[in-house]
Structures are given as structure tokens and as C-alpha cells.
Amino acid sequence: MTVAQADGSALAALTADPQLQRKPRTYWSMALQTLRRDLVTLVAIGFLVSMAALSLSASIISRSIGVGPNDTNLENAFQQPYLGPYIQWRTGADPTRAPLMLGKSGGVAHWLGTDQLGRDQFVRLLYGGRVSLGIAFAAAALTLILGVTVGSVAGFFGGVVDDAIMWFINTLSSIPGIYLLIIVTAMFKPNPVTLTLFLGLFGWIGTARLIRGNVFKVRALDFVLAARSVGTRNARIMLQHVIPNSLPIIIVNAAIDIGTLILIESALSFLGLGVQPPTATWGSMLNRANNFLFLRDPDSGVSLALHLLSIPGILITLTVLALYLIGDGLRDALDPMMKNMGLTSESHIE
């Protein structure tokens, strides 16, 4: 400093240096930089975004194919995916099968085949994605709001408030979650909105615990004491200092939460307890699948319904996988402690 004051021209030279003119690196820009180098997470984000985009444009795509999600065609039930024959047709390997399939379906290209009622699986997957992803994201938002509020209140105020909240959390968490959900969904026969509410209302406990623990940690730090010493109100300390410092945990937790919620929703819908037919969700499309396990073409002995069994499941797995990988990637990017551990970690014993 004193050098710069003594010599103005040196200071000018310093400020002209492009190296020093770069923007300051904040926590978030550093996290973004880590994320940009993380190929796996980028691929996962790309997959999820395209999945969401496809689901959102479901009505446009279904109009261009020329079939709605609930249009049945009993003549054409259990048609195999058109994709393979189409490629064979275009490459000239099999010039007859694809046109025959088109003739049977009335000119509609069922890219991923049709189900037991002749409904187009591809279109139903797109519309089902809307419901499945929508429910999972909305329920995750609800768990976040509830979990962060309850968790930070418990952690911040401690004492009797914390005791009461923890008693409630312990009580609710000693009922096995899946039992609770199966019971309420079996009895209440939910629609997408009530299902979201159930998933959210029974799903916030883990988040609340996590946030509470982190708030305990942050509350003891010096900057909270400093804020308190200048007379900052509780609400302001919580919103300005405590919650922003829990944000990395909240974000990572949210990604994993959404994945888990997709799994739970699909399991409930598979059992026939989730969203009721004919609305398609990825889980409910598998609802009849166990009846189709043994279904074979009487002439050739080929399984008729493998495409109905495999494709929705693969889609669920890939989506959940993408969300878990995003969660992992975000943790690496947002948690500087983990990053340091990675640098200084002493490797294995040989």
C-alpha cells in the first residue's frame, strides 16, 4: 500500500495489468467454475433439462405425431416400437415391416410402441413426465419450505422450542415413511395435487434435521455474535446470516430429495395408489406391467410387452440417477471443505 501511494505511476501500471483487472472471485463464481469442469454433472444436468423440455412440449410433440396420450386403438394393442423397423426401412434392410406397422396403426408412427389399449407409449411417457416431474419438484419445494423453516427455527431458538419440534420430528419419523404414505394414499385416493401435499407433508423431516444441525453450527460462529452485538434482530440474523450459510446444504439436499421423491411417487403409482388412471405417470405406466410379464406372441413366442416393461423403468432410473449425480456434483462444487480434503488427502497404503 505504502509503495503504491509513494509511486503513482507504479500504481497505474498495476491497475492496467489485465491479471489484476479480472473480477473478484466470489464463492458462487468459484462453485460455477468447478461445476463447468465436471463433465458427469454437466451431462446429468443436460439430461434433466432435456427431459423437462420434452415433457413441457408434450402437447406439441403429440400433435405432430398425430395421437393424444389417452387415444386408444384396440386393434393395434401391444404394437412393438416403430423406431427399429423405421431405421431398417430407411437403410433398406427390411423394406416391408415398417410400412406394414404404419398401415396397422392408421399412419401413426408409434416410436416406442403401444400399450394394452393401443395408446402411444412415447406420448404417454411425455405426458407422464409432466406429472411425475411436476409432482416431484413441487413436493420437493414443499419439503424445502417446511424443512428449512422448521429446522432453522428449532436450531436457532433451541431450548423448549427445539425440544418440542424434535419431539414431533422423532414421533413422525418413528412411523416408517413408506407405510404412512401407503396408508394415506390407499385411503384418500389422491389426485396429483393431494399426492404432492402428502409427499411434501411427510417428507420434510430429513431436511429439517439437516438444517437444524447446520444452524446449530452457524449460530455459534463469530459473525452471528457480531451481528447480535450491534443489536440485529433475530429474524434478520436468521434471514441474512444463518440461512444463506446453510444454502449449499439446502441445494444439495434438494437435488437428492427430488430424485427420491420420483422414486416414491413411481412406487406408489405402480401399486395403484398414486395418481389414478387414465392420467399417465411413469410409475402408473408400469402398474399393469406385472400382468404382462408372461404375455407372449402365440406364434413366435416373443414377449409382447417387453417395451412396456422396460422403457418407463429405464426412464425413471436415468432421471433419478441424473438428479443424484447433480446432487453429488453440486456438493463437490459448493462445499469448499470437501474440496480441500480432496487436495490434501493422503492416498492409500500400497
Partner: protein, 353 residues
């Protein structure tokens, strides 16, 4: 230690009380009529239904029903002691308050889970009938996940950064993301339908003699066990890998290396044993998690366990059975958490309570 256990057991009382209220409110305020399951016969008149409803107490406010279910004491306005006195119920009429109190000797407070509306059996008998199947499946799944998950985790820590390590980690993430019901269906399709190696469901082959056939039982057990164990394998291998890596960074391992202890001794005597300690915290809840988590797998594999019982009871609106199952599993969960905390103190003397 003894005082700690007693304190924890006492803490379980308000928790169980809360569980009973929450589950009762949810179940009894749901739409649907449990009487329907008893009265499928169209010849039954509306009057009979009302009588049945009154006998079961379903015409009362849910708070009174809760007291009846919880304490075994039914309260009714007016003098109805004549109507409700039976061989197992004693009623007394309190004239100045104008209500009748009937003690039917039951109530979960006295360890009686009530009678199933659907089958008229005692709920406890139904649970006892179904538990062996669930325990059989749960224990075998837990053993499989320990036997596969732990070695995988340790080996991938030993070979950190190798192809094997990366493969295990990738498989663990995929194992977590697989919907268990779909994975089960695919396994049934591959091994049961296409290859025909294993049965597609249920606990044993139906036979006239009803003899116990071990090979047949094991064959039926393989697929559901593996599906149920998958999550455990993924979890255990990940936790075990992290813990082992953490332990080998400690000073005592460095010390052992420095004084020239053989690598296998470092692994098995020092690293492995200490890495096992944190596992205790997840093992207790895992045991009971496995017992209660099998609902979906039991449904796919037609496994006659607790999960299917609860599922069908919920669909039939058999309130006492549903509530009995919830109370039972909540008790198991609380005991599981307590057990794992105690075990933690036993294996790690630093956390003596």
C-alpha cells in the same frame, strides 16, 4: 448405562403416544367406509349396517373412538348399559353425567391391538401370522447386503482410484437410483420367465403334503432377497469405503506403517475394525428398516408378509389392522434406534453414555 437405557425407554412413551394420535387421526378421518367389507351381501339392510356400525363404535366422534381404541373404554351418552353389556364387556351407567362407560378389557394401553374389521381375527394374531415371512426375507436381505456391501466397500478403499473402485462407486449410485419394484419385475422377467431358473413369486411351491422343502424355500427367497438387499449393498459399500479411507488417514495407521507392520495386519487389525464403528449407527435402523421396507417387494413377489397385510388392510379400510401394524412398526423403529445407540457405546468406549 442402565440409567441411560431407562431414560430412553421413558422417552419412547410420549413418542408412541404421538404416533398413536397422528396415525389414528389420519386413518379415521379418511374417506371410505370400513363396514362395506363386512357387508358385501346386497341383502343386508341399511338397518343391519347401522347396528353393526353402532356395535363397532363407528358412529361416534373420532375422539371417543380413539379413547376406546387406546384405553379399551367406550363412552356413550344415555343409559345403554343393557345394550352393550356382553360376556367380555362390563358397563356402568353414571347417572348424574348421563353417560355409560363400557370396559371391554382391550385397548392398546393394555397391549391389545383390537380386532380386525375385515376378518374378525385379533390384529395381534394376524401380525404374528405374517411376521415369520417378513423376518425371513428381511434377515436374509440384511445378511446378503452385509456380505456383499462390506467387502466391496473395503476393497474399493484399498484400491482407491482404481478401475474396481470407480466401478463399485458407479454401481452404488445406480443401485440407489433403481426403482426397486421395477428392478424386481425385470429380474422376474429375466430369471423367472425367460430363463425359467427361479420361481416368479410367493414363499413356497404349493403342494398337497405341505412338507418343508429347504431347496424350494431358498429358490423362492433368492430374487426378493437380492432386490431388497440392493439398497443396502449400495449404502454399505459407500459408507464402508468412506470410513475405511478416513481411518487410514489417522496417525495410528501412519505409525503402524512407519514401524513396518505388514499391510494385511494394518488392514484387518487396525483399519477394518475401526471403520466398522460408525457402521453401528446405521445398522440398528437398517435392521428394522429392512423389516418395514419390504412392502413393495412383498407385493411384487406375492410374499405373504407384513407389508402385504398392511397394504391390503389399508385398501379394505380395516382400521384396527392398519393401526396395529403402524404401532407395531413404530415400536420396532424406536427399539432399533435405541439398540444402535447402545451398540455404539459398546463398540466405541469413547462414547460411553
Amino acid at each position: 448405562m442402565g440409567r441411560y437405557v431407562i431414560r430412553r425407554l421413558l422417552q419412547a412413551i410420549p413418542t408412541l403416544l404421538g404416533v398413536s394420535v397422528i396415525s389414528f387421526v389420519l386413518v379415521y378421518n379418511s374417506p371410505g367406509d370400513p363396514i362395506l367389507i363386512r357387508t358385501f351381501d346386497p341383502n343386508i339392510t341399511q338397518e343391519t349396517r347401522e347396528v353393526l356400525r353402532r356395535q363397532l363404535g363407528l358412529d361416534q366422534h373420532w375422539t371417543l373412538q380413539y379413547i376406546s381404541w387406546f384405553a379399551g373404554i367406550t363412552l356413550r351418552t344415555g343409559d345403554v348399559s343393557e345394550e352393550f353389556t356382553r360376556q367380555d364387556t362390563s358397563c356402568t351407567y353414571v347417572a348424574f353425567l348421563n353417560f355409560t362407560s363400557c370396559d371391554n378389557g382391550g385397548g392398546i394401553l393394555r397391549g391389545n391391538l383390537g380386532t380386525s374389521i375385515a376378518t374378525n381375527q385379533a390384529v395381534w394374531d394376524r401380525i404374528v401370522e405374517r411376521m415369520p415371512a417378513t423376518i425371513e426375507l428381511g434377515v436374509s436381505a440384511l445378511l446378503v447386503s452385509l456380505l456383499i456391501g462390506l467387502p466391496l466397500g473395503i476393497l474399493s478403499a484399498v484400491r482407491q482410484g482404481s478401475l474396481f473402485d470407480n466401478l463399485v462407486r458407479v454401481l452404488a449410485v445406480i443401485g440407489n437410483a433403481l426403482p426397486s419394484f421395477w428392478f424386481g419385475l425385470m429380474l422376474i422377467y429375466i430369471f423367472g420367465v425367460v430363463l425359467g431358473w427361479l420361481p416368479t413369486g410367493s414363499r413356497r411351491t404349493v403342494s398337497l403334503t405341505n412338507e418343508f422343502d429347504l431347496v424350494d424355500r431358498v429358490r423362492h427367497l433368492i430374487l426378493p432377497t437380492f432386490v431388497l438387499a440392493l439398497g443396502g449393498i449400495a449404502l454399505l459399500s459407500r459408507v464402508m469405503r468412506t470410513e475405511t479411507l478416513e481411518v487410514i488417514r489417522t496417525d495410528y495407521i501412519r505409525m503402524a506403517k512407519a514401524k513396518g507392520v505388514a499391510a494385511h495386519r494394518i488392514w484387518f487389525v487396525h483399519a477394518f475394525r475401526n471403520a466398522l464403528i460408525p457402521l453401528m449407527t446405521i445398522l440398528g435402523p437398517a435392521i428394522f428398516g429392512v423389516l418395514s421396507g419390504a412392502v413393495i417387494i412383498e407385493t411384487i413377489f406375492s410374499w405373504p408378509g407384513m407389508g402385504r397385510l398392511t397394504f391390503s388392510a389399508a385398501v379394505q379400510r380395516d382400521y384396527p389392522t392398519v393401526l396395529g401394524a403402524v404401532m407395531f412398526f413404530s415400536l420396532l423403529t424406536i427399539l432399533g434406534n435405541l439398540l444402535s445407540d447402545i451398540l455404539y457405546g459398546v463398540v466405541d468406549p469413547r462414547v460411553r453414555l
